[in-house]
């Protein structure tokens, strides 16, 4: 370990319980101040590596460890996570699953309560953390009413209140809109300037590539240095969409003056929009703008408060934001086969599994896979059987570049086969690569963006 390193791993290897292959393999790594970006394919070991910094690996997950890891002067193997928690702040991938208390201030204070901070000090530090993350205006709100982006910032405030020396974030941009992602990136720069070491694992680099710091890749559990060119790779590689055939194709779905909202309070008001067979429509817009409500209304899962929804006959595929909502069969192959049960589509299902790069995972339990792999399994499960209309809510969440490329290929193939596809996404590169039209969904209204506006 170097004298200045905040965290240092030397010859570190880690096996999950009953795993034959190490998830972290012979890693030598020093983390000093500044920002360290970690990239890597789904299942490459990024999340496992991040968890070493606060001791969740191995203390929470069990398993076997070789080598040494030191964080803020503590030997990780000999130090419980609850002790490291005072030095290391950890923001998990899914902000909805890390809120402990129902109100904003209480949730931020949870960590401080755990380490016995006096009430007066705690209230001051909660206020500072809310200010630091730009969510003072959320004070007094119920956590359940916050958007995904707001929850992500709340989670960050919760760890910053504990004044960590090392801040670790696991795919913090996965649910953020462009504005939220830019704001978070700026916050990370500020924190690094204040002397906090920041380690970020992320697939969406379009908002992070300008950050100062170094970039590393995790490949098969090992660390590789990444130069700036590689860092900017696929996310910047915008593919030209195929020529649109929309004017010639029949209308596949249509919303006429629709008002809709999940609790019968309109989130969308007087929306009129249509989509055609063989067309890809991208829905973009800020968190909480109504994209999911629009998709659910199109799917028939949400009855409109007023107006009419029309879909031509045929199967409608729907991918929810949370892929876990689908996965319940013992293997990926069984999961996909379940969708087409009773149909003579099994060959198509096998081909789709291969197309999405899941063949080597076909016999694995989908719930044992990494986030990106689960997402691909869920996509295969809903798209099997050649649906007439496919509605995909944040389909690239947690996906690496290769998986995103595979998904683009599937979307283009299905589009050319006549499927009407609607994507709700924050992933500008996905929209640019496959969308024939882009609709902005914001403040209850839907408007079509011109190609210039999309660019």
């Amino acid at each position: 370990m170097t004298g200045a390193a905040i965290a240092s791993l030397s010859g570190f290897r880690y096996w999950y319980p009953n795993a034959g292959v190490p998830s972290i393999d012979a890693v030598d790594l020093d983390v000093d101040g500044g920002i360290t970006l970690l990239s890597g394919a789904s299942g490459s070991g990024k999340s496992s590596l991040l968890r070493v910094f606060n001791g969740l690996v191995p203390h929470f997950h069990g398993g076997t460890v070789m080598g040494t890891a030191t964080v803020c002067g503590h030997e990780v193997i000999a130090t419980p996570t609850r002790v490291l928690a005072t030095k290391v702040g950890f923001v998990f991938q899914d902000p909805e699953l890390q809120s402990v208390y129902p109100s904003v201030e209480r949730d931020v204070a949870f960590g401080l309560e755990n380490i016995g901070t006096p009430a007066g000090v705690m209230q001051r530090r909660v206020g500072e953390a809310l200010e630091q993350t730009g969510i003072v205006h959320l004070g007094g709100r119920a956590v359940a009413t916050l958007s995904g982006g707001e929850r992500q910032r709340l989670a960050l405030a919760g760890v910053l209140a504990m004044r960590p020396r090392l801040l670790v974030l696991d795919e913090p941009l996965s649910q953020l809109d462009d504005g939220g992602a830019r704001a978070l990136a700026a916050t990370l720069v500020d924190l690094a300037d204040q002397g906090i070491a920041v380690v970020v694992a992320e697939h969406r680099f379009e908002h992070l590539r300008a950050l100062p710091g170094r970039s590393l890749a995790v490949v098969g559990g090992r660390i590789r240095d990444v130069d700036a060119v590689a860092r900017n790779r696929a996310n910047g590689a915008v593919r030209a969409p195929l020529t649109s055939t929309r004017t010639a194709a029949p209308v596949a779905w249509n919303l006429d003056r629709v008002a809709a909202g999940p609790t019968r309070v309109p989130v969308l008001e007087s929306v009129s929009v249509e989509g055609r067979s063989g067309e890809v429509v991208a829905l973009v817009g800020p968190n909480g703008g109504g994209k999911t409500t629009l998709l659910r209304t199109m799917a028939g899962l949400l009855a409109p408060i007023s107006g009419t929804v029309h879909r031509t006959p045929g199967r409608v595929a729907y991918l929810p934001q949370n892929p876990m909502a689908l996965l319940h069969r013992p293997t990926v192959a069984a999961e996909v086969a379940w969708t087409v049960r009773g149909d003579a589509q099994s060959e198509d299902a096998t081909a789709l599994i291969a197309e999405l790069g899941l063949t080597h995972l076909a016999d694995r339990d989908p719930r044992d896979l990494s986030t990106g792999e689960r997402q691909r399994a869920a996509i295969a499960a809903v798209l099997a059987g050649a649906p007439h209309i496919a509605l995909l809510d944040e389909p690239t969440r947690g996906m690496d570049d290769a998986a995103r490329d595979a998904l683009c290929s599937v979307i283009v193939r299905m589009r050319n086969a006549g499927t009407s596809i609607v994507l709700a996404t924050h992933d500008r590169n996905l929209a640019a690569a496959v969308a024939d039209r882009t609709l902005a969904v914001e403040s209850g209204a839907v408007r079509e963006l011109t190609p210039a506006a999309v660019a």
């Binding site: 929470f60 609850r82 928690a85 960590g111 309560e113 016995g116 799917a299 876990m324």
Partner: protein, 274 residues
């Protein structure tokens, strides 16, 4: 209001309701508790479901006692003796005793209800003594998971419905139940991991909002505990008479001390600001 004061008030109400058989005292406790609930329930909280459930529970208690207890001088119906358990005379005394039992259950439940219908869950958790703080935080967190599980169940049902799942087919219910259970379990594990990462279990916990004792909180707690103590003491010594309708139905004796002890449970309505 101080959660500990309200908890002591609830404990006192339950104690009085369960330490007497008199329907008069039980009815007084019930009315006082209902008053407190109506005055201080959280915004948006409806009492309708609770009151219906208590009505059903009281009716069941009355029906069960009437059918199963054949004691008493005033029979109003004779069921054939060959019918197991319920065969024999049905008496007015048993019916009234059953009604009083139902009243006692309702009074006790209503006295405890403010803990969930007036206080926020975390306020009650914060009110636990230091030794139970970690357990309390775990309970509070578990309570916080419930709405998430309900949302997740809806999301899973919708997603599976789009893949052809139909609720009418019983054999397909596991296709909904399995992901709901697995998602809830995985959510719990992730939350546990997040709690650990934020220092849960480090040592003595403190609370963001310390609940101070104001004079009105002290008045509520002291009056309620004193009322319950006096009531129980008088019951033990016989200064407050109990009531038993068998074998011959009689009016319950009502004493000033007993009535005052019950009415003392109205103190929150008198001293706490709404």
């Amino acid at each position: 209001m101080n959660a500990r004061a309200l908890a002591l008030w609830s404990l006192s109400g339950v104690t009085i309701a369960l330490s007497t058989g008199s329907p008069v005292y039980r009815a007084l406790v019930l009315l006082c508790a209902l008053n407190v609930l109506l005055a201080f329930r959280r915004p948006g909280v409806s009492l309708r479901g609770l009151l219906i459930a208590l009505g059903v529970a009281a009716a069941i208690a009355m029906a069960t006692t009437t059918l199963a207890s054949h004691t008493g001088d005033h029979a109003f119906l004779m069921l054939p003796g060959g019918i197991p358990v319920i065969g024999g005379p049905l008496t007015l005394e048993a019916a009234v005793f059953g009604a009083s039992t139902g009243l006692g259950i309702a009074a006790a439940v209503l006295a405890a209800a403010p803990l969930s219908l007036v206080l926020q869950p975390h306020a009650l958790v914060d009110a636990l003594p230091g030794a139970l703080a970690r357990t309390g935080a775990a309970i509070g967190t578990a309570l916080n998971l419930i709405p998430g599980i309900a949302r997740s169940a809806t999301e899973i049902r919708d997603a599976q419905r789009m893949r052809g799942w139909r609720s009418r087919r019983v054999r397909e219910w596991p296709d909904l139940a399995v992901p709901v259970v697995l998602t809830a379990l995985e959510g719990s594990i992730t939350l546990a991991e997040a709690m650990e990462a934020r220092g849960y279990g480090s040592g003595v916990r403190t609370h963001y909002s310390e609940q101070g004792w104001r004079s009105t909180d002290l008045i509520v707690a002291v009056v309620a505990v004193a009322a319950a103590a006096v009531f129980v003491a008088f019951r033990v010594t016989g200064a407050i008479a109990d009531w038993y309708p068998f074998p011959d139905l009689s009016w319950p004796a009502v004493g000033v001390a007993g009535v005052l002890c019950c009415l003392a449970l109205l103190t929150p309505v008198l001293v706490w600001r709404r």
